[in-house]
Amino acid sequence: MDAIYFFLTIALAVGLTMLFTWFKKNNITLKWNEWVLGILGLLLALFAIQHTYASATYEFEYTSAWIMGVIVLLLAVVPLLFAARSVRRRVDK
């Protein structure tokens, strides 16, 4: 396994643990649409990282690595923002 994926896995595990611990502490439960948006955003973000790394490292395709990586990362931000906003609205009520 490449080192980046190893560290990414650790970061993901730690980050998600912290996030869900914080949810639990604040009695926040997610609705089904927030789950879908969150998972979609996460998958897109991971895909962006994998694409950028693999395209640059193994394929020597730097144009694709950066252009597509940035585009997909921006696409990942959208559902995550929607999910975050939905949660925030509900919690602030």
């Binding site: 080192a3 730690v14 895909f47 694409h51 193994y58 395709e61 730097y62 694709s64």
Partner: protein, 518 residues
């Protein structure tokens, strides 16, 4: 107050500190590099490409202790053409030395007894190596030694009148050897056609094949893939192929090759044979085993570089892999008729054997290797093998709207019409199928730009970006996005490469230059 602004507790703070500290500790254990040059030249990336725990010593100071006052040049006995002991030795040859204390037969018995004691219940088979498949593999890979076996039946034999030069003795049935079916001296291997295919796949990949397939030669349609006529065992009319050289067919074991093409006929016969009138394939040979060889991607993609080396390297391997497969099948007790890249057109076999589909370049696009492969090469045999069906992965359809290889083609040799055609009007193309045809009168045959530019050809394979698998999956199921994918291929700069941005000369590449991506 909003829960988003609550202060963190001391416990959570310490927990976070511990996690951060662990991460920093892990990161600190990695070597620190200040720039790329330092990284490239560091121990981890030295010429030996070894891990951090392997320490280097001074030159000529290995872990054994050497007394350089005593250590001197070895006499050379037992090496390189000497293979004899000193004048006062109690033996006269390498073989005799090995049997100084015990005969070869007794050694075999002793080894077998030791193995059976260590592995109770294990069946050593005929020769103490396991079942017949193990023997077949052993004899296949030991044959290439020059002069091996009785009467020098090795794959490579010296020219009698040209010292130091060797010719490869692959023949219709391959070189004779110790376990020499199909003369009945060794029981035939019996397996189901499905198991036989899996067995051949394991052996062929071990020998160096990238992908494998099988066809049912008993089917009249399959017979149409075989050439109508050919000059046996050669690639060019009236001449022996450059692969084998003038000594390719050993006159001691095989009849002289006719100097013209003869019809290939399917007939009832005990053995395959050729003469000045015909070349016969026995009808009992009902299977064709096929294999493709992937081209080393990183070279093959670099048409602005030594792509030619990446492309043509597989030709030297076809005969090697094919002959090893041939000998393996023979050692199982079956006929194996092999002729390097012979019998019929390669891409044709790949299209029918399930390894790929025909592409616009006229060659096949492999489901895994893309256009960066050559094959399929083929071994005709009477070993029952379960045939593999053709595939549909959307590649043939994709070529209808892609045109990238046609656009980069220097000569115009790539199929020029937008749609596939039923014929080309050229005598060098096979008629009777709706597909793509190469204009061989124009193709420069050495630029490699079509193969390298194909969207299905990319570096890294399994390590590459997931986008390729996603695209392949979509393309295999719908044509709706084909044009979009083609445009993205161009917009994102995919295609063939130059030798720039490559550390090929500095990095320790994969074996044979081919990265299986696993």
């Amino acid at each position: 107050m909003s829960k988003f602004h609550k202060t963190i507790s001391r416990r959570d703070f310490m927990k976070g500190l511990g996690l951060a500290g662990g991460g920093i500790g892990v990161a600190a254990s990695a070597p620190v590099f200040h720039d790329i040059d330092e990284f490239v030249s560091s121990e981890a990336n030295s010429t030996k490409d070894q891990p951090w725990y392997v320490k280097h010593r001074e030159h000529f100071d290995p872990t054994i202790t050497v007394d350089w006052d005593i250590f001197d040049r070895y006499d050379g006995y037992q090496h390189k053409g000497v293979y004899e002991g000193p004048p006062d030795a109690p033996f006269t040859s390498w073989g005799n030395r090995l049997q100084m204390r015990m005969s070869g037969e007794e050694q075999k018995k002793r080894i077998l007894a030791a193995k059976k004691e260590r592995f109770p219940g294990w069946d050593g088979g005929l020769h103490g190596r396991g079942d017949q498949r193990a023997d077949a593999l052993f004899y296949a890979v030991t044959q290439p030694f020059p002069g091996s076996g009785e009467e020098g039946h090795g794959l490579f034999q010296p020219y009698p009148d040209q010292p130091g030069k060797f010719y490869a003795r692959w023949g219709l049935y391959g070189p004779p050897h110790d376990s020499a079916p199909p003369d009945g001296s060794v029981p035939k291997w019996e397996g189901t056609p499905e198991d036989n295919f899996l067995m051949l796949r394991a052996a062929a990949k071990y020998f160096g094949a990238g992908g494998v397939g099988a066809l049912n030669l008993a089917d009249p349609k399959c017979k149409k893939l075989i050439y109508k006529k050919a000059q046996p065992m050669t690639l060019g009319k009236g001449t022996y192929s450059e692969i084998g050289g003038p000594g390719m067919i050993d006159a001691k074991f095989y009849p002289k090759v006719p100097d013209h093409a003869v019809p290939i006929n399917f007939k009832e016969a005990d053995y395959s044979y050729y003469n000045d009138a015909e070349w016969v394939i026995p009808t009992k040979c009902e299977s064709i085993f096929t294999f493709t060889l992937p081209q080393p991607q990183e070279l093959n993609k670099r048409t602005g570089g030594i792509a030619g080396a990446g492309s043509y390297t597989v030709y030297k391997d076809f005969a090697r892999v094919g002959t090893l497969v041939q000998m393996f099948i023979k050692n199982l007790g079956y006929h194996a008729l092999y002729w390097p890249i012979g019998w019929g057109p390669g891409g044709c076999f790949t299209t029918f054997d399930g390894q790929g589909e025909q592409g616009r370049t006229g060659a096949a696009i492999h489901w895994k290797f893309g256009s960066s492969q050559r094959g399929s090469d083929r071994v005709v045999t009477d070993l029952p093998i379960a045939p593999t069906p053709p595939i549909d992965a959307g590649m043939f359809e994709f070529c209808k709207t892609c045109y990238i290889c046609r656009d980069v083609c220097v000569s115009g040799g790539v199929h020029q019409e937008d749609e596939p055609t039923w014929d080309s009007g050229n005598w060098w193309n096979v008629q009777g199928y709706l597909g793509y045809r190469t204009d061989w009168s124009g193709c420069h045959n050495q630029c490699g730009m079509c193969q390298s530019s194909c969207p299905f050809t990319y570096l890294g394979l399994e390590n590459a970006s997931l986008v390729h698998k996603i695209v392949k999956g979509v393309v295999a199921n719908t044509t709706v996005f084909n044009s979009f994918f083609t445009n993205m291929e161009k917009a994102l700069g995919y295609g063939d490469l130059t030798m720039e941005n490559s550390n090929w000369w500095k990095e320790e590449g994969p074996i044979y230059g081919f990265d299986p991506g696993t």
